[in-house]
Symmetry: C2
Subunit: 124 residues, 2 copies
DNA sequence: GGATTATATTCCTATATGGGAATATGTCAA
DNA sequence: TTGACATATTCCCATATAGGAATATAATCC
């Protein structure tokens, strides 16, 4: 298999920096037309349309026709799975204490992998 | 250009479900040898090694030699940028109020795009 | 030495990407 | 109708992927 499609899920969709930029712009304020995004982000129009297509397929944005414009609207809820997953690791950097513990553990690991005599198995 | 390399940053690295699995396993407990990950996740050994290679290149894991084993260790701090970015959108689903506001805004958008012209279509 | 175990690397392939350029579609207005 | 504008789509291409299979490297033990 090749790499999973960008439209597979939110994780793949937000891997692209420009798509995150688009999301960021849509987050502050009302829905935006494609042209507004083009102007704001200075990205060629076809590129913006394509990126919006990806985001729409994943459900991160939705469209509404307004005359000859298309208003793209953020549906941030689709980002929740990403947040849920990464939030688990918040403790690794949020507390000073955690960071100290981190370093201590690493030191211990490096030390043990240096000291240990040959032939050694870990749990499970 | 083609798609950005998986080793570009944390965003790209964690797009792969199996790499997230590896991270999850490394998170609960001490460093793991490759063989342990193979057994736990039931992923072929070469695949695990390759995924670990990506994670190491991005800095999400680090290695320590222990005899003929390599102990991989999580360095979760590298996930902070992801958390920082997605945390911005937490408000969209964490508070009931926010969700209500969301819906109201969407309705308004759809309405406005419905009122103006006769032409009307639903999202694809 | 040879055998065994643990891990990494190489070779292969199908597949999709993002960008650019050009073009198509769609919508308005006169 | 025509023309101007907004957006989407198509075509092309260089690039890298993830997986599988096979092999290479490395450490350990006999």
């Amino acid at each position: 298999m090749a790499r999973a499609a960008t439209t597979t899920d939110a994780f793949n969709a937000i891997a692209e920096p420009r798509r995150r930029q688009i999301i960021d712009v849509l987050a502050r304020g009302r829905p935006h037309a494609v042209g507004e995004l083009v102007q704001t982000l200075r990205i060629p129009q076809p590129a913006v349309s394509k990126h919006l297509g990806v985001l729409r397929k994943v459900g991160i944005v939705s469209v509404a026709k307004e005359g000859q414009h298309r208003l793209y609207r953020l549906n941030a809820t689709e980002l929740k799975p990403v947040h849920d997953w990464v939030k688990t690791y918040e403790r690794y950097w949020s507390h000073q204490l955690a960071r100290v513990k981190e370093r201590a553990e690493r030191k211990a690991t490096e030390r043990s992998s240096k000291d240990k005599p040959p032939g050694q198995k870990k749990e499970e």
